[in-house]
């Protein structure tokens, strides 16, 4: 397949403006004749559905939640970046662009990232106008803080609930359009397949989670804003329901899957406590503004209580290894450093898989109240889960799966390799390369939904005759519906011995061991043996009780895990194929003298876009070369 990124010509700074001037427009009177299905109601989906409806398009918004306000975006804590330079500390569009490209270890598409930095400033304006209660200074202006990988203060926040507040802003915009009859919500509907007619995306097949009813929905274009797939690891900071089904089915219909192995492991999460565990809880990166990370210098001290370890016996390893960024080193680097000190036997807590995040200096410097004001709710969460008081003794943290930079391949218009199928937010691959900087996912989701798709979708729709969308009784719809029904029947008829969770846990363990913070060819090859075997076992021994006539959570789960069992294999294949280290992708065969990633630009400066080739066949690797016009590819240095 030939991948055309459709990046406009001209100087980097001018590309987006020029593109807006060049792309085709849909005549306002015709807009209501086009119907768009938006799957997803998180930041990306809600903002897109609301903005498209405002323009006059007929929009249906499909979510598996009861309400768009419950999308996983709600859980984001720390903040959202924007190049406002309100702090007058030297920030600019160029600096945000540069930090993001560098943070992603030169594996993101330059023009998309520049556009992201450009539109970031408008996002904050939009959200404030919607009544998002961002933190403010006494003078009434907006407050900022710093996140990893940046030396300026450009992160806007609403206590520790920034994602919730941004989502409620986008959700209320969506509810306004619902009230006005411009958007039809389809809640509790899980999209099970994309329907292609003459190679173009023209609808979806959904299953109602409460009634089990399978239905067809036709449209002129389909937008997927279905979030990330980190739950493939079973344990992660995602909501339990987040899954890959929407993008995986699209992949199997011909949308290329880009860089599937790029997953972000977040350095500051509450460590695992037992095998019953269902999810891991993030402690926001913002804590690293004031918390200091350390482990004992000596192995023997790792079982001691932290208060009994003298200052000179503590190793503030991030400050030592990365003096200029210190505790704010990017996530991939901080996570690996934690793994390294734990591998050396200096990890703390019962499992030895933990490091301290210590606020005693900050409490001395600022007072307990100031610390409470900044991070109170995070300290509360920590207390609830661990039963420990982080005002008195340091938090124990460990890295956990948190975000997926990989996703469906999209061009500059956010269109996948299936014409008419657009992909927004975490579900696409476009902006974060091999590592995402903190507070940039919220920015990207809202940039895509508010400020990119409303314009770029017109470029596609303008080529279609109004009213030309195929009806939902077209044979392609019937075929897709039959496949969905067939799969439901199959899952219900196995009646094996093991619950779905059994397979999910085992898959997660394989991926964590071999496709997690460190990877090597031997491990990946092993995983590529184990995953297909596990998949076979699933399809012969899973037990899905009940039927499909009403709410059946085991069945929902079985569908999702079945897709994870396929995706996991593709991730390992991608990780094996990328024989270099870059960002989150740390191949142990490629480590430089200082223990950092040894990137190989000569051979791997490309986006790996995998194309489905059919059941049991090896997928085809397509490469989109990464060409940088405005920045030079250099070695990432945070020392």
């Amino acid at each position: 397949m030939k991948l055309e990124s459709k990046v406009p010509s001209g100087a980097l700074e001018q590309k987006w403006t020029k593109h807006l001037g060049d792309i085709k427009l849909v005549n306002p009177a015709n807009k209501r004749k086009y119907e768009i299905i938006v799957v997803g109601g998180g930041l990306a989906g809600s903002s897109a559905a609301a903005s498209l409806a405002e323009l006059g398009y007929k929009v249906k918004c499909v979510i598996y939640h009861d309400s768009a306000r419950r999308a996983h975006s709600v859980a984001a804590q720390g903040g959202i970046n924007a190049a406002k330079n309100y702090q007058n500390d030297g920030d600019s569009v160029h600096r945000l662009f540069y930090d993001t490209i560098k943070g992603g270890d030169y594996r993101a598409r330059e023009a998309n990232v520049y556009r992201l930095a450009q539109v970031s400033v408008k996002i904050i304006d939009q959200c404030v106008a919607q009544g998002v209660p961002f933190a403010r200074e006494y003078g009434g202006l907006l407050a900022n803080r710093s996140f990893g990988g940046a030396q300026v203060s450009r992160t806007f926040y609403a206590r520790g609930q920034t994602g919730q507040q941004l989502l409620l802003g986008a959700y209320s915009a969506l509810m306004k359009t619902v009230g006005a009859g411009a958007v039809q919500m389809l809640p509790h509907e899980e999209m099970m397949d994309v329907v292609l007619v003459n190679g173009h995306a023209k609808g979806v097949i959904c299953r109602n989670l409460n009634t089990g009813k399978v239905t067809r929905h036709n449209a002129d274009a389909v937008v997927l804003a279905t979030g990330g797939y980190g739950n493939v690891f079973n344990l992660s900071t995602y909501g339990r329901l987040s899954n890959t089904t929407a993008i995986w089915r699209a992949y199997k219909r011909g949308a290329c899957f880009a860089n599937p192995c790029f997953t972000q492991i977040h350095p500051t999460c509450i460590p695992v406590s037992g095998d019953y565990q269902s999810k891991l809880t993030l402690m926001s990166e913002s804590l690293r503004n004031d918390g200091r990370i350390w482990v004992p210098k000596k192995k023997e001290d790792s079982r001691k209580s932290p208060g009994d370890i003298a200052e000179e016996d503590r190793d503030y390893y991030l400050e030592r290894m990365y003096p200029s960024y210190g505790n704010l080193a990017p996530r991939d680097i901080s996570s690996r450093a934690a793994k390294k000190v734990c591998d050396e036997g200096r990890g703390v807590g019962d499992s030895g898989l933990g490091v301290y995040l210590d606020f005693s200096d900050a409490i001395r410097r600022l007072g307990e109240n100031a610390v409470r004001e900044r991070y109170g709710n995070l300290f509360d969460i920590y207390k609830e889960i661990t039963n420990e008081d982080a005002y008195r003794s340091p938090m124990r943290i460990f890295p956990a799966v948190h975000y997926t930079m990989g996703g469906l391949w999209v061009d500059y218009n956010l269109m996948s390799s299936i014409p008419g199928l657009f992909v927004l937010g975490e579900a696409n691959f476009s902006d974060h390369g091999a590592n995402r900087l903190g507070a940039s996912a919220l920015m990207q989701g809202l940039a895509d939904g508010y400020f990119v798709i409303p314009f770029t979708i017109g470029d596609y729709l303008a080529q279609l005759k109004p009213g030309s969308r195929p009806a939902s009784d077209a044979p392609e719809f019937a075929e897709a519906e039959q496949q969905v029904l067939g799969r439901i029947q199959k899952l219900l008829s196995i009646r094996g011995k093991q619950p779905v969770s059994h397979f999910h846990k085992r898959l997660g363990k394989i991926l964590w061991d071999h496709c997690g913070m460190a990877r090597n060819a031997r491990g990946l090859e092993k995983a590529l043996q184990e995953i297909p075997a596990l998949r076979e076992e699933f399809w012969s021994n899973v037990n899905v009780p009940g039927d499909s006539a009403d709410l059946n959570q085991s069945l929902e789960n079985a569908h999702r895990v079945a897709d994870f069992l396929e995706l996991g294999e593709l991730m390992c294949r991608d990780a094996l194929d990328r024989d270099e280290s870059c960002g989150c992708h740390f191949r142990e065969e490629h480590i430089d003298a200082e223990g950092e990633c040894d990137r190989n630009d000569e051979h791997y400066a490309y986006v790996a876009a995998w194309e489905y080739a059919g059941e049991g066949k090896k997928p085809v690797l397509n490469k989109e070369p990464l060409v940088y016009e405005a920045v030079k590819m250099v070695k990432r240095n945070y020392k």
Binding site: A75, Q126, L142, Q165, Q553
Partner: protein
Amino acid sequence: MKVTLKVWRQRNASSPGEFRTYQTPDLNPNMSFLEMLDVVNDSLTARGEEPIAFAHDCREGICGTCSLVINGKPHGPHRLVASCQTYMRSFHDGETIVVEPFRAKPFPIVKDLVTDRRAFDRIMAAGGFISVRTGAAPDANSLPVSKEAADRAMDAAACIGCGACVAACKNASAMLFVSAKVSQYSLLPQGQPERYRRVLGMVAKMDEEGFGNCTVTGACEAVCPKGISLDFIARLNREYSTALLRESIGRTAGSDGGA
């Protein structure tokens, strides 16, 4: 530890429900309540029985999906936490725990412990927003907002829309939920133009959906996982009476200025 569960089982909205009793397998006190249900469900599956349906997603108290009444209390024994943030160490070995769904007429039962709370969305669609077209907003710092107002608006905006307030109220009133949204916007300058139209629209919808009256017993505040304060209900009442008064004398739906 082990506990006995008395769980509400109901196949769907139209069939009758009943309590059923289950013995849990051995549990770790550090498990969350939902993880305990996961473990019970896996054992039910192994026995060929249908697992207990319950709503959940984030499992960290922010999405508002989980909605259990545990021993008669919406969200369980502790203040300021959601069901998903309740841990087994809060119960004792051998205890019998009663688990029910949020019960309220406007929240019909879907299955077992899962209810349909979409009435909240319909209330939101009737006015829970500030109308601002995408791309039409002025620079974010062009309108300073005092830190006090922003903080107070944030206190209200923290609502997670779980519906525990409704489940706790003998009248199934949704006043705490509606008051949080109305207060958030009325505290901010951006919310002024639609201030009175909003409160009239949301309250009318709330009544239409069958939520009851508020008799200020405070049961809602006591179970709210986010500590949304009853003061906001007082504010809502003020906003609502001013809006009615203005409507009766034919004034416009927004505020003339000043919050």
